[in-house]
């Protein structure tokens, strides 16, 4: 070290540069003054889950079917579901209670990934502070339910993808249904034709067996897609 320490002066030059540039360079002053100015929430941000419903009515449009897959997948076990029942105590595919304990939730998104009905999604709301430590942080079904429009607002890309996927599913189901109807119709026609043929050719009694076989085959095919769970839900 001589009289003037070079390294120290270099360092002081750096801090002086930062001091001066902080007055005119945005890069040097990244501070956002929070309550007045909120930093833009990224559309990929995830925080606490919410439930999506379609259309106007919260209950009618609810996508959730209370299948409890998310409850099982949640690592800290913060989701709590009770299935709804109708007046005859028959379970219906809708949650009566859907609670998320936001004090326990660790925003891992595993519930979103397991949901087969595109119902549970991540919110980007971050101002969750509450005066009540226990009940206040427990978010119930009605608070969780948010419209699909809201979903589009916060996560446009993801919401569009989801909608497309649902639309594709519906379309697929439609086509399947149509195909089924078509096949049923064809089968019926074939039956009719066969019956007619039978009637016509009872006397002749020639190609009877092959036609019946054909009809049976197509009938079996038409029945097969009925077990597909996805078509049921949409």
């Amino acid at each position: 070290m001589s009289l003037i320490a070079k390294g120290i002066l270099q360092g002081m030059a750096v801090t002086a540069k930062n001091f001066i540039q902080s007055y005119y360079k945005k890069e040097r002053l990244p501070t956002v003054e929070y309550p007045e100015e909120k930093s833009t929430v990224n559309q990929f941000t995830r925080n606490i889950p919410f439930l999506v419903y379609d259309g106007e009515d919260e209950i009618e449009g609810m996508r959730c079917t209370a299948c409890k897959l998310c409850e099982k997948a949640c690592p800290p076990q913060c989701i709590y579901i009770i299935k709804d029942t109708d007046e005859n105590d028959k379970p219906i595919k809708r949650p009566k209670v859907f609670d998320i304990d936001s004090s326990v939730c660790m925003s891992c998104q595993l519930c979103v990934e397991v949901c087969p009905f595109e119902s549970i999604r991540m919110d980007s709301e971050f101002e969750l502070s509450n005066e009540n430590r226990f009940e206040g942080l427990l978010i119930n079904r009605d608070e969780l339910l948010k419209s699909n429009e809201y979903y589009h607002e916060i996560h446009p890309i993801e919401a569009q993808e989801t909608d497309d996927r649902i639309a594709a599913k519906i379309a697929e189901a439609e086509t399947k249904k149509k195909a089924r109807e078509e096949k049923a119709r064809l089968a019926a026609e074939a039956k009719q034709a066969a019956a007619a043929m039978k009637a016509a050719e009872e006397a002749a009694a020639e190609t009877e067996t092959s036609a019946t076989e054909q009809a049976q085959q197509s009938e079996a095919k038409a029945e097969a897609p009925e077990d597909n769970p996805e078509t049921k839900n949409t």
Binding site: M1, Q10, P75, M106, S107, C108, L110, V114, M122
Partner: protein, 377 residues
Amino acid sequence: MPARGYHLSKDELGADILEVAMGPHHPSTHGVFRMDLKLDGETVVDLKPIFGYLHRNHEKLAEDIPYLGCMPFTDRLDYLCGMTNNWAFALSAEQLIEIEIPERAQYIRVICAELTRLINHCLLVGFFINDLGALGTPLLYALREREKILDLFETLSGARMMVNYMRFGGVRCDLPDGWLQECERIVGRFPAFLDEYETLLKDNEIVITRSQNVGVLTQEEATNFSITGPMLRASGVNYDIRKVDKYGIYDRFDFKVPIGAHGDCYDRFMVRMLEMRESIKILKQAIADIPEGPIMGNEPRVFKPDPQETYGRIESPKGELGFYLIADGTTNPYRYKVRPPSFVNLTALRHMCIGHKVADAVIILGSIDIVLGEVDR
């Protein structure tokens, strides 16, 4: 005035030894960590690290959760480096079920891991200088740069620190549009920040006098103490798991491993600075080469591996992060053990501190780079 109220004991010559419990609430123990110091004047004659204030028995928790459910818990180990923790766990679990990882996912993993290394190292260097007594200025510059990378992570995975991004057989989602360009821009600007940082600190006479020859670990000691990561390399041992195991696709990148010669705090600081530059090199190559394609193999979410044991490890920014898994044929791990780098690196703390001053004990602790989430688990 009698010294009533101080815990004083005598050494063999009859001099008073002052016992100070530094922590668990102390400005520079990096969390709830305690060092019981015995001081002769200002010189440390004995040091006892006390752990467990943040213990939550994460290993026990994992035994009741399916493999995938453990993934978000790994984020909380070393909460600064979620990505590398994810990768280490994914790597171990992938050894259990032996699956192929698509090319693109491999590249994404490398990019994320190296970004994490940048985050961790620039934060560590900031805190280290903060421990030296600089009033937060270098730390805040480091935080300023880290913020940009955290924004990248947020766009990618939805969260800034608790990313939960990697999955067995790939990563959770593909890169959003424009992400790579943004990443390239940030990585391209990073060297300018490093230059500024080095001008601020590297030749600073006070930093040099404070940190050189403090907390020296020789090559043999470092190996014997099971030290890993930048700390080991600062002691002059050429051992980087990225080079040794070549896990992922690290063998495709051209990068070098910085080696220190003295094994003191200054070397640890400089090795980290140089490692950041090497990480930037890897990042640039990875961003240039990343192919299109799928990001996920088709592995079921819940699986039952055959009964077996596996140990997967990666070079996390702090050192060797390993996961020792014992599978018993069910969906949950039978035994889930984390080999945390900062916990093991703390073994050498006592050895390094004895004979130095109190102020040195603080910077030696800082140079080890601990995160209590990982130490106590």
